[in-house]
C-alpha cells in the first residue's frame, strides 16, 4: 500500500517559488548560495509564513515572560470578584495622557441574586508600567515583584482588586493573568510532545527505512495499526487511567507521553521516505566507497539533507499536539487544576449558560486559534522552503 498518501502529504504551492532570476547578479548569488541560504531566501518570500513566524515567536515570549506580563496572582481567589466582565482601560482624560481604570463595586442583584458590578466614574485608579505586584521568580533566576503593568503605588489598592482586562472567572481569579500562565503550559506541552514523538519517529522511521525487509514491514504495520485506532477515545481512556493523586508535574509528562503516542507515526513516515530515497543516491554510494562507516554516512551525509524536512514536519505536528492537550484538558481528562492550561481555562466555558451569561470566558479560544493558524502557515512555509532545489 505504498501508493497511499497521508492526508498531509506535501502540497505543492507555487506561490512560494523562487523568483525568476532577473539579472546576472541575482543568478550568481543563487548559484553560490549554500542550501540553508537558499532555504531562508525562499522562506522569506513566503509572507504569510514570515508573519506567522513572528506571531509564534511572540507567543513563546509570552510563555517565557508569563509572570512579568501577568499583573494579578493567577491563583488568588476572591468570591467578591466572581465573574467580573472585562474592563475598559481609559488612556486619556481631561489632563492629557493618564492611563487609568475605574474602580468597580460589586453587589448582589436583589431579584436574580447574580452579582452585578458598577463602575465608579469618580474613582480613578492610575496604571503604571513596571509597577509592583505579586512576587515571583523572574526566569527562575531572582525574585522580583515588578510587572509590565500594575497600579501606581500610591493608589491604595492592589492590581488584583482593580485591574480586570479580560474579566474574572467564577472564583474571582483574573482571566488575563491566568491566560498568560496557561500559554506557558500549553505551548510547552506541544514542544515536549513533539520532542518525544520526534525521538520515536526518527528512531523507528530511520530503522525502517535503513534496514528494510521484515523490520520495515513490521514497523509499517505498526504505524498503520496505530493510525487506524480512533485517537480521542484511546487518549481519553489512557488519561482517565492516571491516578487522581498524581502531582501536576507527573500528569503533565504523562499527558505529553500520551499525545506523542500518536504523533510519531507522521514523522516516522517522513523519515522513512527520506531514507529510502536517499539510500540510492550517488553521494551515499560515494561515501560508502570512500570507506565511511554507517553511522558517519547517516549523520554526516544523510541527515543534513533531510533535516529541513524534519523541521517542517515537526512544525506541522506542533499544533496538533497543542489541540490534543487543549481538548483533553477541556474534557477534564488532561491537566487538572491547579495547573493552568488553555484547555483548563476553556473548561469554564463548556456550557451554553456560562456562554450566555459570561461570554468573556470564551476569549481564551482566540489565542488558541491564532497560535494554531500561525503554526500551520509557518509549517507550510517551511515545507515549501525545505526543498530549495525543487
Amino acid at each position: 500500500m505504498d501508493t497511499m498518501i497521508s492526508p498531509d502529504a506535501p502540497v505543492a504551492d507555487p506561490i512560494a517559488g523562487l523568483p525568476e532570476p532577473e539579472g546576472s547578479e541575482t543568478e550568481e548569488r543563487i548559484a553560490v548560495a549554500t542550501q540553508w541560504q537558499l532555504m531562508s531566501m525562499r522562506f522569506r518570500k513566503h509572507r504569510l509564513a514570515m508573519a506567522s513566524l513572528i506571531i509564534v515567536i511572540l507567543f513563546y515570549l509570552i510563555a517565557i515572560f508569563a509572570n512579568f506580563l501577568a499583573y494579578a496572582d493567577p491563583f488568588k481567589t476572591e468570591a467578591y470578584r466572581s465573574l467580573m466582565p472585562p474592563q475598559k482601560v481609559i488612556l486619556w482624560d481631561d489632563d492629557g495622557f493618564n492611563p487609568h481604570v475605574l474602580a468597580v463595586e460589586g453587589a448582589r442583584d436583589p431579584v436574580s441574586f447574580k452579582r452585578i458590578y458598577k463602575t465608579d466614574p469618580d474613582h480613578k485608579i492610575p496604571l503604571r508600567l513596571f509597577a509592583h505586584g505579586y512576587e515571583y521568580k523572574f526566569l527562575g533566576l531572582f525574585r522580583t515583584d515588578r510587572h509590565l503593568i500594575g497600579v501606581a503605588d500610591d493608589a491604595g489598592v492592589t492590581a488584583e482588586e482593580s485591574i480586570f482586562l479580560m474579566g474574572t472567572d467564577l472564583l474571582g481569579r483574573d482571566l488575563f493573568s491566568r491566560l498568560m500562565r496557561a500559554t506557558r503550559i500549553s505551548l510547552s506541552v506541544g514542544l515536549v510532545g513533539v520532542a518525544l514523538s520526534m525521538f520515536l519517529g526518527v528512531l523507528l522511521g530511520g530503522i525502517s527505512g535503513l534496514y528494510g525487509g521484515v523490520i520495515d514491514i513490521t514497523i509499517q504495520r505498526l504505524i498503520e495499526i496505530t493510525r487506524s485506532i480512533p485517537t480521542i477515545p484511546l487518549w481519553m481512556g489512557l488519561a482517565a487511567a492516571m491516578p487522581r493523586d498524581w502531582s501536576v508535574v507527573k500528569i503533565y509528562f504523562a499527558i505529553t507521553l500520551i499525545i506523542s503516542l500518536i504523533g510519531w507515526t507522521d514523522l516516522a513516515r517522513v523519515v522513512r521516505g527520506r531514507f529510502l530515497s536517499l539510500r540510492n543516491e550517488d553521494f551515499v554510494l560515494a561515501a560508502e566507497l570512500a570507506g565511511a562507516g554507517q553511522l558517519r554516512i547517516i549523520f554526516r551525509h544523510m541527515v543534513p539533507s533531510f533535516l529541513s524536512h524534519i523541521i517542517a514536519a515537526m512544525t506541522l505536528a506542533l499544533p496538533a499536539m497543542i489541540i490534543s492537550e487543549t481538548a483533553l484538558s477541556f474534557l477534564g481528562l488532561g491537566l487538572r487544576p491547579p495547573a493552568i492550561s488553555w484547555g483548563v481555562l476553556l473548561q469554564d466555558a463548556q456550557n451554553i449558560q456560562t456562554m450566555a451569561n459570561t461570554p468573556w470566558l470564551l476569549l481564551v479560544a482566540v489565542p488558541v486559534i491564532i497560535v494554531i493558524l500561525a503554526f500551520n502557515f509557518l509549517g507550510d512555509g517551511l515545507r515549501d522552503a525545505a526543498d530549495p532545489y525543487g
Binding site: 504495520r221 485517537t231 477515545p233
Partner: protein
C-alpha cells in the same frame, strides 16, 4: 486480488486485537479492581456485601489473576456477547449503549458524506480557477476549518446561535421526541438536527481534502495529455472531468481510510460539547467514574467499527482505481 483482501482482513483482525488489548488495559490501569469499586458502590447505597460474595465476584471476574489470564477470560466473555455490567447504571453494558452506537455512526458517516460531497467540487473548482477569488476564499475557509479544533468550533457556533438566532444548537432530537419510540416523525426530527454536528465534524476533513484535491489536480492539469486533449478540441468540461479528475481522485480516495478514525474521534468530543446522544458523553462519564467495563466496551466497539470501515474503504478504493488492483495482484 483475493490475497489482497485476505491481507487486509488479516491486518484488520490484528488491529482489532491490538485495540482489544488497549481497551482491556484501560479497564485494568486504574488502581484497585472492579470488585473493589463495585463493593464501594453498593455500600454507598447502604447495601452490605459479604466477604463471601466478594470472593465469589473475584472468582467470577478473575481479578486476582495475572494480566493475560484476565484478558483471555474477558475476551472470551466478549466473544459471547457478554460485555459485563455497567457499574454506574447497574445494567448490562449493551443496554446502556443501545441506540447510541449507531447514532454515532450516523453522525460520523454524515460527516464523511459531507466531506466528500463538498471537497470534490470545491477542490476541482479551486484547481481549475487557481488564484481566483473563489480559490483564495476556499483556501481561507479551509485554513480556518483546519485550525479551529472542532470542539471550539462547536462552542463558538453554539454561542453565535444562542446570541443572534436565539436558537439552542445541540442534541439530536427535540425534547418532545427524546424518549419516544422510533417513528417517522422522530426520524425526520433527527434529520433536521443532523446538519449542525455534521458540518462541525466535517469541517476539518473537508479543508484537508480540498487542499489535497487541489494540489493533485494542479499536478495533473500540467501534464501533456491535457494539452493534447485540448488541442484535439474537447470541450473544457470533458478535458477536465474525463481524465485529470479521475487520476487525481486516487490519493483522494486513499485518505478515506484515515478519515474514518479521525471523524469518529472528533464525534466523541463534539458530542460532549453539543450533548448529542451518541457514545461520546457516555464514554466520558464512564471514564471519569471509572466505570471500567462500559468504557472498555465502548473503546473496543468504536475501534472495531473503525477497522471494519477502513477495510470497506480500502476495498472501495481498489474498485475505483485499477492501478491499485493491478499492483496488488
Amino acid at each position: 486480488m483475493l490475497s489482497f483482501i485476505a491481507r487486509r482482513i488479516m491486518l484488520g483482525a490484528l488491529t482489532t486485537w491490538v485495540i482489544s488489548i488497549i481497551a482491556f488495559l484501560v479497564i485494568l490501569l486504574p488502581p484497585g479492581d472492579f470488585v473493589d469499586a463495585y463493593i464501594a458502590q453498593l455500600s454507598g447505597l447502604g447495601q452490605y456485601v459479604s466477604l463471601e460474595t466478594a470472593a465469589n465476584l473475584r472468582e467470577q471476574y478473575g481479578t486476582d489473576q495475572p494480566f493475560h489470564v484476565q484478558y483471555i477470560k474477558w475476551i472470551r466473555r466478549v466473544a459471547h456477547g457478554d460485555f459485563g455490567q455497567s457499574l454506574e447504571f447497574g445494567v448490562p453494558v449493551a443496554d446502556v449503549i443501545g441506540d447510541r452506537l449507531w447514532l454515532t455512526m450516523v453522525v460520523s458517516l454524515g460527516a464523511i458524506a459531507l466531506t466528500w460531497g463538498l471537497a470534490l467540487p470545491i477542490g476541482i473548482y479551486s484547481a481549475v480557477h487557481q488564484y481566483s477569488f473563489g480559490d483564495y476564499f476556499f483556501t481561507f475557509i479551509g485554513f480556518i476549518g483546519l485550525a479551529i479544533p472542532n470542539f471550539l468550533l462547536a462552542l463558538i457556533l453554539m454561542y453565535i446561535g444562542f446570541k443572534y438566532f436565539d436558537a439552542s444548537i445541540g442534541g439530536l432530537f427535540s425534547p418532545e421526541y427524546q424518549l419516544e419510540p422510533w417513528t417517522w416523525e422522530k426520524i425526520w426530527d433527527l434529520i433536521k438536527h443532523l446538519p449542525m454536528p455534521v458540518i462541525i465534524l466535517g469541517m476539518a476533513g473537508t479543508a484537508q481534502l480540498i487542499r489535497i484535491m487541489r494540489a493533485n489536480l494542479l499536478d495533473e492539469l500540467r501534464k501533456p495529455y491535457v494539452v493534447t486533449a485540448r488541442a484535439k478540441g474537447l470541450t473544457e468540461t470533458r478535458v477536465i472531468l474525463k481524465y485529470p479528475v479521475r487520476a487525481a481522485l486516487n490519493p483522494f480516495a486513499s485518505t478515506i481510510g484515515y478519515l474514518l478514525p479521525f471523524v469518529v474521534s472528533g464525534s466523541i468530543i463534539i458530542s460532549v460539547v453539543m450533548s448529542l446522544p451518541t457514545v461520546g458523553p457516555i464514554l466520558l462519564r464512564a471514564l471519569v467514574a471509572q466505570d471500567v467495563y462500559l468504557a472498555g466496551t465502548i473503546i473496543l466497539m468504536l475501534g472495531t467499527l473503525t477497522v471494519i470501515g477502513t477495510i470497506i474503504s480500502d476495498l472501495l478504493l481498489m474498485w475505483i482505481d485499477p492501478r491499485i488492483r493491478l499492483e496488488q495482484r
